[in-house]
């Protein structure tokens, strides 16, 4: 009898487990193309002194958080982008005055879709060459999505 009781207790304890019906957000936000306006894309070339018209669409099933855009040089060929596209790269070189762009942006609260239009000025005195363009996006719960692209800055003369 005692044994049966014990086994019942064991069964009860183990069956009490395993209900993971949460109403918590468990999905990351998405960085989607914004149709024809999508910019920049992989292997994008831009000129010093001109601008990059940033355009992507962010979506989340619950609520978007914030995003960051960061541009750093890839003169040492340190990583690849998150897409399968291979862009033609210049040779390795040492940075003299590499472009550093690193800006955090907020998204108005309560949004599940957001398409920011941001104009990024490309300085005239920076090193030309291969750069990485990184988009980082969070949702309210703290999930993050990344998108990295290889872009190239060329001199004004083209």
């Amino acid at each position: 009898m005692k044994r049966i009781l014990t086994l019942t207790i064991i069964a009860a304890i183990f069956s009490a487990c395993g209900n993971d019906a949460d109403d918590t957000d468990t999905t990351a936000p998405q960085i989607a193309d914004a149709g024809e306006q999508t910019c920049p894309t992989d292997c994008y070339e831009c000129f010093r002194g001109e601008t990059i018209e940033f355009c992507y669409t962010f979506t989340d099933d619950t609520e978007l958080g914030s995003f960051n855009i960061e541009i750093h040089n890839n003169f040492d060929h340190h990583t690849h982008s998150t897409s399968s596209v291979e862009c033609e790269m210049d040779g390795k070189k040492t940075a003299v005055n590499a472009w550093i762009y690193n800006q955090d942006f907020s998204i108005p609260s309560g949004q599940t879709t957001y398409t920011p239009h941001i104009t990024i000025d490309i300085p005239t005195d920076i090193d030309t060459g291969d750069y990485h363009f990184m988009i980082r996006l969070t949702d309210k719960a703290g999930w993050q999505q990344l998108k990295a692209m290889a872009i190239k800055v060329v001199s004004e003369e083209g």
């Binding site: 207790i9 304890i13 914030s66 703290g142």
Partner: protein, 699 residues
């Protein structure tokens, strides 16, 4: 709680604690032993460690329900008890808290597993004896077995196919009258680890592996120790020096969580260690003395000094406003720890067994390197405790209760970047990453328990409070963690973490069957949690230390069946649930939540004295669907394991034991939810074999 007493006794007379049969991981037919403690504790003998040897000690201990080895890459792992790891459990060596870099998620234990004679795992709060951190439990490694003959020794060789590991360990020891000595040396060398896949995908980064190996995860290890002692009738004293050195590479394609390409030709050798790598050296001197006075009153004194130095090297790269640094030294930690403990045990007629004690610890941690993660600090803590055990008047059993008070003082030094960052006014400055601050913490902890035997039953119940002093990283971090590529911000207002736990053990056994259930319920009013926020700081996602209410509960179960004298079968299972009840992540679980698991094992013995053994086992792990950012859900899996061992008597005093162990026989490709590399989709080891040959000479 009486496990503390038990542990105190173990400290006092290292050789007198009952070693369980090699075949039983936990549970014992020794009622009196079980009744001494109202907490669930598991004794693991050296024989058990040998016959279940699977690469690392923690992986071997993982077979105990409720114990988990969190894989941190490079073939190393860190322990967790009932889902609590890092600074929420204690690893002690001969009763002294091991002070490594236990806060970090990418370094191992820094203890030589071959030096361990036996292990005691205490599930549940151990605050009364160990003070801060002993929330989840205590893994006590004993290396202080006193030799019984004039000379004895072992030579053990191990090999492992997973990473072409080759290790040799030699131990010698002897006793001349009351004087004794012990010494050991271990060397261990391994190549890059194999995984059952040819590529790894992370976000959409696609990393192709060479020969199915994780690039640059090779390493080597050199350890040694010397112990000298005197074991008289009323007086025992010993001193032990030990040194552990490990150098190992980090997986080159994702140092931490950043995917990188490098100009280094990693693939030309699987055995070399290129950047990024780490080395760690842990030096320890510890001394233990016990004096038995009249009326069985005993006095124990433990003192120890530990120096833990660790360096991480990686290719210098610029990031944000940090220019390319000079040299490869990313981080260096140099931590000195001084420990002293005094305890007095008094058996009394009227008041039962009374024990009291005091301990003190001082730490100084220095840092160096171009990467900042934890500030330099000094901390001092001291605690006093009193506990007693009284036999039940009308039944076989004991009641115990104890109380402890701790005070600690932490001084964190300020730290400024070594490079300038542009400021809002157009100027630039050396940004401060950690402010000079001093914090004091007081904690009162207690525990009450009962253990009772009735017929085939043993019942234990325990309720207790434990605590953890916030570590300097939690109080003072303010910078980029390059390993995980996130911005971590400490919180200087954190209070000492408190934990309340109620647990029980229900044991039923006869000559054939033994059954044990260990349920627990645990509540934290202020669990310290590094919460990923929706914000960015300096281009990286901001993680902030917060405190939230957390509820955890679960249970472990075990059923062992002895069929005749040659067969044995065992079933084990564990389940854990955790939920954050307040704060940012209300409703979410805690990171690295262990999924449910169950395992079965059949053992067959034969030959003279059952000298040969074959073990077949299956391990089933459930899906973990309850996750918290940035985790991924992890599917369940099943693995099959086997091992065979035989002892040969080569002479009157010489014996040889050969063991062959196989893990993951079906070569299943699966992920471990609690692995550090889970986030970058690195699978666990495929089919692999370990072999060990141990020669024992005993005079």
């Amino acid at each position: 709680m009486l496990t503390y007493l038990m542990a105190a006794v173990a400290l006092a007379i290292p050789d007198t604690v009952i070693n369980l049969d090699a075949v039983t991981v936990s549970g014992t037919s020794q009622h009196s032993y079980m009744l001494k403690s109202s907490q669930s504790s598991v004794q693991v003998s050296n024989d058990y460690i040998n016959s279940h040897f699977s690469g690392s000690l923690m992986q071997t201990l993982e077979k105990i329900p409720g114990v988990k080895a969190m894989s941190i890459g490079s073939g190393q792992s860190k322990p967790a008890i009932r889902g609590l790891g890092f600074n929420r459990m204690v690893v002690a060596e001969d009763g002294i808290k091991h002070e490594g870099q236990q806060w970090g998620d990418d370094h191992g234990l820094e203890i030589d597993q071959f030096s361990v004679d036996r292990v005691e795992v205490l599930k549940g709060p151990g605050a009364l004896l160990y003070g801060s951190d002993a929330i989840g439990g205590v893994i006590n490694l004993y290396t202080n077995h006193i030799p019984t003959s004039i000379f004895g020794g072992t030579v053990q060789m191990v090999g492992r196919s997973l990473n072409d590991q080759l290790g040799v360990s030699t131990k010698i020891g002897g006793r001349h009258n009351a004087f004794f000595y012990r010494a050991h040396i271990t060397i261990n060398n391994y190549a890059d680890s194999r995984v059952p896949t040819d590529s790894i995908q992370y976000y959409s980064y696609y990393i192709k592996l060479h020969d199915g190996r994780l690039r640059n995860t090779a390493g080597h290890e050199r350890d040694g120790s010397l112990m000298l002692g005197y074991a008289g009738y009323n007086f025992h004293t010993d001193v032990r020096f030990s040194d552990t050195y490990v150098k190992s590479g980090f997986f080159a394609n994702a140092h931490g969580l950043e995917v990188r390409l490098s100009g280094i030709d990693y693939d030309h050798s699987a055995r070399d260690i290129d950047l990024p790598y780490q080395w760690v050296n842990h030096f320890k001197v510890q001394s233990h003395s016990m004096l038995t006075l009249a009326d069985d009153v005993s006095l124990n004194v433990n003192i120890a000094y530990q120096r833990n130095v660790r360096e991480e090297h990686s290719e210098p790269v610029s990031h944000g406003y940090m220019p390319t640094p000079q040299g490869s030294l990313e981080r260096r930690f140099d931590k000195d720890t001084y420990t002293a403990a005094l305890s007095l045990s008094i058996p009394t007629e009227r008041l039962g067994q009374i024990s009291m004690g005091a301990n003190a610890e001082h730490q100084h941690n220095k840092r160096d390197g171009w990467g900042f993660i934890i500030p330099e600090f000094r901390s001092t803590s001291a605690g006093v405790y009193l506990h007693g055990r009284w036999p039940l008047a009308w039944r076989e059993g004991n009641v115990n209760a104890g109380v402890r008070f701790d005070h600690s003082h932490t001084h964190i030094m300020s730290y400024n970047d070594w490079y300038r960052t542009p400021t809002a006014n157009g100027d630039s400055a050396y940004t401060q990453r950690s402010a000079d601050q001093t914090r004091r913490f007081n904690s009162l902890t207690w525990s009450v328990g009962v253990s009772r035997a009735a017929g085939h039953w043993v019942l234990k119940a325990n309720v207790g409070k434990s605590f953890r002093t916030p570590i300097p990283k939690e109080l003072g971090a303010d910078g980029i963690n390059y390993h995980i590529f996130r911005y971590e911000k400490g919180n200087s207002a954190l209070s000492a973490e408190r934990s309340y736990q109620i647990d029980a053990s229900i044991i039923w056994s006869n000559d054939i069957v033994s059954m044990q259930i260990d349920p627990f319920f645990n509540y934290f009013p202020n669990y310290i949690y590094l919460s990923p926020t929706a914000d960015y700081t300096e281009g990286l996602q901001l993680y902030r230390y917060m405190q939230s209410r957390v509820v955890r509960y679960g249970c472990e179960g075990q059923l062992t069946c002895q069929i005749g004298s040659h067969w044995e079968a065992e079933l084990m299972g564990e389940y854990l649930y955790a939920e954050q009840m307040s704060g940012d992540k209300k409703g979410y679980t805690l990171p690295f939540s262990t999924p449910w698991s169950a395992s079965g094992e059949v053992r067959r013995f034969w030959g003279a004295d059952n000298s040969a053994e074959i073990i077949l086992g299956a391990h089933l792990v459930g899906k973990q669907g309850r996750i918290v950012p940035p985790e991924k859900t992890t599917d369940g899996h099943m693995t099959l394991n086997a091992s065979v061992s035989k002892r040969f008597n080569l002479g009157k005093h010489i014996s040889l034991k050969a063991t062959l162990h196989a893990d993951n026989l079906l070569n299943e490709c699966y992920y471990d939810h609690t692995s550090y590399y889970r986030l970058i989709d690195v699978p666990e080891a495929g089919r692999n074999f370990s072999a060990s040959i141990k020669l024992t000479i005993d005079d």
